[in-house]
Symmetry: C2
Subunit: 340 residues, 2 copies
Amino acid sequence: MPSSIKQVALQAGVSTATVSRLLNTPEAVSAETAGKINQAIAKLGFRPNFNGRNLRAGHSRTVGVVVPTLSNIVFAQCLQGIELAARALDYSVMFTATEYCQEDEAAAVDLLLSHRVDGVILTVADASTSATLDVLDKEQIPYVLTYNQPQQTARLSVSVDNRAAARDAVTHLIALGHTRIQMLTGYFHASDRAIQRYHGYLDAMRAHGLTPMTPIEVARHTGVATDYLQCFADLQQLPSALFCSNDLLALAAMRDLRAQGLRVPDDISVMGFDGIPLGELMSPVLASVVQPSEQIGAVALRTLVAAIGHAPQADADGGPASCVLEHAIRPGGSVQKLSL
Amino acid sequence: MPSSIKQVALQAGVSTATVSRLLNTPEAVSAETAGKINQAIAKLGFRPNFNGRNLRAGHSRTVGVVVPTLSNIVFAQCLQGIELAARALDYSVMFTATEYCQEDEAAAVDLLLSHRVDGVILTVADASTSATLDVLDKEQIPYVLTYNQPQQTARLSVSVDNRAAARDAVTHLIALGHTRIQMLTGYFHASDRAIQRYHGYLDAMRAHGLTPMTPIEVARHTGVATDYLQCFADLQQLPSALFCSNDLLALAAMRDLRAQGLRVPDDISVMGFDGIPLGELMSPVLASVVQPSEQIGAVALRTLVAAIGHAPQADADGGPASCVLEHAIRPGGSVQKLSL
DNA sequence: TTGAAAGCGCTAACAG
DNA sequence: CTGTTAGCGCTTTCAA
């Protein structure tokens, strides 16, 4: 059983208030007293109990994080960025995953709220229909979305411009001579980003007078049901390039294509989205849209802390704002340059 | 400001004690009263404050997790396993990373202890010299090591048998006709696992009458200083196979080797350790030792919870025990079968 | 089955 | 600069 401020006070021969002062406003304590207290602290191995502190203070210097899964390195990097930034600001992180399950999403937030986190960072399936966000709104808990890029509301978010990024990716493919470009994506209902990226795909195709192809939706979880490859049985139908809604999907698709005897990029080009670091280690390098995941996390954390600092309704002044970070096209050998 | 048990009591016309009872031992409250209270709870949107509860109860149903980094997918998967298992047992997770920095390790544990987590799951650089573990021991906080496989003490840990696993890997290489096998590893001082794996390498080489080669130590952080490739300038010196202490290193090495004009596996074979899922999507498939990272996390969490349940000194009976999980060799095209 | 009351560890007025 | 005191939200005896 760890010792309390009371025992430290007793040991040092001062009041608990003075010990508390040393902990919080050391300059308000005389050097002599400080010495005695520090000695007592060391002797007892005292460590403040944040539960007591939080209870009293009404805040916890803790943020909650909710991501779909850590199996996708993208979210792991984001969490990494959050944790690093949090530590720098003396915040702690409670972490939860949802496995892309809506109920778990709500349950996760509920739990975090019971822990009285000061705010929440989360990525939801669809920001525009999320009951979870409504709860957060109603309870007046500051929160910041990551990856989600809400269209309508004034919700705080940190992301890239998914639509523009996808447009750039497809434009990149077009610039390399591709015209039959098809999108391979995780279920739209599980990711509002995927929808935005599809719109970007359409933008680029139309801007170049190309006919969009019907997107192929597959379960995002690895494995990747290879059923979709049926589409390619007829080689006449084969697109020249596949634009995938994320890198994991792209990698899985490449594997599946190879298993079908198709060569990448000779027979078909593949481009991803996310720009995971491993994509660059492979041969051929996975062409992709790089989004700065770790930075997304870091910025989200700082935005959240800023939001926590601001009174809920005092956002008339320059309070924290949503942030759209830069994306970049990473060319790679997984995409072939076609002779025109 | 969220409402408290007091306001619920007032609203329902009962005492706070009764509300508390409904929350903790519902069967001890009459149906009628329960109805009134539940109504009040719903009306007020009440959510218990765990800070108050923890303070009073002396435990938090929260565990702390400390990993080196989330940039290595291995630890992300482990954390994923921990979180899933924790949720199933109604535990919450506070997460911290150390970036392989010893001081951060100590600071992280300190912070977690201030939050009064009930226990800690952690991976340290070197379990046998970690001051952090000594702190945990002294404070009587239950903890479980992951990946670390302490030699001497009775410390709880969950890992594979690193030495045996490495031995199996190198034996696999030998079985495929390799004799000039060299190990490429992250700094030994940053990972006791790497040392154990090196011993496994030695075991296998010696068991087959082969001459061990001097291991190449490099900074583990990606980038991978390509200086080590100097070793290979003299093609006479070139090993036929490189056994890497982890998959990220293996992938980076393959990239670097290719950049040098060496073909994998034609000119040199590469085998990794960890068995990250992405290794299987690549072409060629990365041969590796698969360790069940997510399971390591899940088992660690359950072991920790068991340890929390047990009184510190009551481990005479069948208390929680360390666990060595099965590893598996994943063959892959990154390793060439040599004609003998 | 319910209520009254004490106290977990800490901080923030308010006095001195 | 320091002590006294009250109370954050909750659980848990002890009585009723």
